[in-house]
């Protein structure tokens, strides 16, 4: 049984649910969003990822209607929504602080949005019950927000924002206040709920692991601009810049000059006394162009003997070992002082580890293991 791959962004006939067209937002002299163009499709779980101050929250607040773009077009389901107040949009938001009404019970919090419409009482009650069941809160319906735990509060906030069945749900750092274990469980719960309700989710987060886990596509932002939009594996395996490669996960960046070796293969001259590295790239580089080789630590093997089959090998000494339980990261210092991180899974017990501090080792990787980046 094969499952159809969900990728509306590759289908030119698909109409986006949200369209940002050259949107700029300025606060006085400060440009929070800089000429941004972006499409988000129906049923997507879209993550806006970036460091604090990169403009991801401003984007979300513009979608919710709390801020208006200074210039540019913003469309929801084909209609321009710039200037529409938040209470007139089919968009709901889950706040970072949850913003539950402390004077209302869980039940009343969830019913709050429904009561603003023209729904009759029975339909409201039925919808609230449905939401309570979806978020496993039925037992707590009568409690006030301060009488339940953080994880339960988070679920109330989610139920409240989903109750009106919005076209688009915005989640502002939804799991930020939860501890790590609960966060991981909740991530999967969020994905389940997103799938079962079919709502388009846009999540804002600074936690790259969270973005990678939940999202169908991730947009990496910096200083009001989107640097790259791609699927989680696309972002990780094929970052388009050193910034993205460095922001997502751990990476070794080796600077040098490129020399074409034909058929998408390039030599990278990175130091004087060692042979050049071999790397493949889809993006063409000219002879002598500056280039950065980005390579993930887990794609680098570390051995005591020089391997014969690897395209790129270089010798160094083990400077440091970071033991993470399941993994160990070796910090290997090369002859020119450069440090390369290599990661291996700890399949054996620690006492059986063959490599230790100050050992002479070989690090090696294949030509396709890394990506060559311009900037």
């Amino acid at each position: 049984m094969s499952q159809k791959i969900f990728a509306p962004w590759d289908d030119p006939n698909e109409k986006p649910l949200i369209r940002f067209e050259n949107v700029t937002k300025k606060f006085g002299d400060f440009t929070a969003i800089d000429d941004l163009t972006l499409n988000i499709y129906e049923k997507e779980f879209f993550a806006l990822l970036g460091p604090s101050g990169c403009g991801k929250t401003t984007m979300m607040r513009m979608l919710a209607g709390f801020e208006n773009p200074t210039s540019g077009k913003m469309e929801l389901a084909g209609k321009n929504i710039a200037g529409t107040p938040p209470n007139k949009r089919a968009v709901n938001m889950m706040f970072q602080s949850y913003a539950l009404f402390p004077h209302l019970s869980v039940w009343e919090n969830i019913a709050f949005g429904l009561k603003r419409g023209s729904m009759d009482k029975r339909a409201i009650a039925a919808r609230v019950e449905e939401m309570l069941k979806l978020t496993r809160l039925t037992k707590f319906a009568g409690r006030k927000p301060h009488q339940i735990s953080g994880g339960q509060r988070q679920r109330v906030a989610l139920a409240r924002s989903l109750a009106k069945a919005p076209k688009l749900l915005l989640l502002d750092e939804p799991l930020g206040a939860l501890d790590k274990k609960l966060r991981q469980d909740t991530q999967f719960e969020l994905m389940d709920i997103q799938e079962s309700t079919g709502t388009t989710f846009v999540i804002v987060t600074h936690d790259q692991e969270e973005a990678m886990t939940v999202a169908s596509r991730v947009a990496v932002m910096d200083e009001g601009r989107i640097i790259q939009v791609a699927t989680p594996d696309g972002i990780y395996e094929a970052p388009n810049s050193v910034y993205v490669a460095d922001f997502i996960g751990d990476v070794n960046i080796i600077e040098g000059t490129a020399k074409p070796a034909g058929d998408g293969v390039y030599f990278l001259d990175w130091t004087e006394n060692e042979p050049p590295f071999l790397a493949t790239s889809d993006v063409p580089f000219s002879d002598g162009q500056k280039a950065h080789l980005a390579i993930r630590p887990e794609k680098i093997s570390i051995t005591t003997e020089k391997p014969d089959d690897a395209k790129n090998t270089v010798q160094g000494t083990v400077l440091d070992i970071a033991y993470l339980g399941n993994l160990s990261t070796y910090y290997v210092q090369l002859a020119d002082g450069r440090i390369i991180k290599a990661q291996t899974a700890n399949t054996r017990r620690l006492s059986r580890r063959s490599i230790t501090w100050e050992d002479k080792v070989w690090v090696s990787w294949n030509a396709t293991a890394g990506v060559l980046l311009e900037q």
Binding site: G65, P85, N87, N92, Q96, F101, G113, S161
Partner: protein
């Protein structure tokens, strides 16, 4: 036995005992006595012996209060004036507190200062200043005559209107400060959440801002109502003969009639009336403290 804790708790209790409970029992004792031409102007006193004194006590003065309709009319009128002043102070004070809480962060200390500033001058001087503003030759009438809005001066001075103005002015800070404290704590994202869920700005104000500042509103109302009920200086300086307030009656009984026993009976009843709102106020404060923990 933790001595430090004992002393800490003992201080306010001794204070209450010495400055409230003992004076109250003295007043209560006088209210049970009879008028006499002596110093102090009542009998019996301790010098007849305690047993003799207690035997001579009766509730005659309390009965007397029910025979003359002046007293209950004064109580009722005081309640009415205190209630209306409280409502007026709320109507004036809430927007001011709201404005303060919404003002830019750096302005707030200044605005707070402006609210508290009148306390730095004597209460009496401030009430006298209103005489200068409200009287026939006062600033207000002079100004209105000068602009041509009116041709004869408005008679505000020595009316109940002047009393209302005086009470609302004097007790406004007591209304503003607790409401401001409640609004200042209010999380802005709650208002945004309400809007996000379909409320207009006005609707969000009524459904979220007002209920969440309730404890401040209640505290402010009691802080205005309780002192306004027994108010004496404002009605006697700004009010006329038409303004009947129990504080004024009390003063006249004590110092003009020199009928200490009846005056004491008036004071005891006033205190009994005040106990109800004071207990309600305490309950509100306690509930608020519990909600915050």
């Amino acid at each position: 036995m933790n001595m430090r804790r004992f002393f800490l708790i003992a201080v306010p209790y001794v204070w209450l005992l010495a400055l409230f409970l003992i004076p109250f029992f003295i007043v209560f004792k006088i209210s049970l006595s009879d008028l006499a031409l002596s110093i102090p102007p009542y009998t019996p006193t301790m010098k007849d012996g305690i047993g003799q004194m207690i035997k001579a006590f009766d509730f005659e003065n309390f009965v007397f209060l029910t025979t003359d309709d002046l007293y209950w009319k004064a109580y009722l009128s005081s309640l009415k004036i205190a209630l209306f002043s409280t409502v007026l102070a709320l109507l004036v004070g809430y927007p001011m507190a709201y404005g303060m809480a919404r003002a830019p962060e750096e302005w707030r200390p200044t605005l707070m200062m402006l609210v508290i500033l009148p306390f730095w001058t004597s209460f009496l001087i401030r009430v006298y200043a209103w005489v200068g503003i409200l009287s026939n030759e006062g600033f207000l009438n002079q100004f209105l005559l000068w602009t041509g809005v009116i041709s004869t001066p408005l008679a505000i001075m020595n009316t109940t209107t002047a009393v209302y103005i005086g009470i609302v002015y004097t007790y406004l800070p007591f209304m503003i400060l607790p409401i401001y404290a409640a609004l200042d704590r209010l999380d802005e994202s709650l208002i945004e959440a309400a809007q996000d869920l379909g409320c207009s700005r006005t609707k969000a104000f009524w459904l979220v801002t007002v209920p969440l500042s309730r404890s401040g509103i209640i505290a402010g109302c009691f802080l205005v109502f309780i002192p306004a009920l027994g108010e004496f200086v404002i009605p006697s300086l700004l009010g006329g003969s038409g303004t009947l307030m129990i504080g004024k009656v009390l003063f006249e009984e004590f110092f003009n009639n020199r009928d200490w026993p009846v005056a004491s009976a008036v004071a005891v009843i006033l205190l009994l009336i005040l106990i109800v709102p004071i207990i309600l106020f305490q309950r509100n404060q306690q509930r608020q403290a519990e909600a915050e923990t």
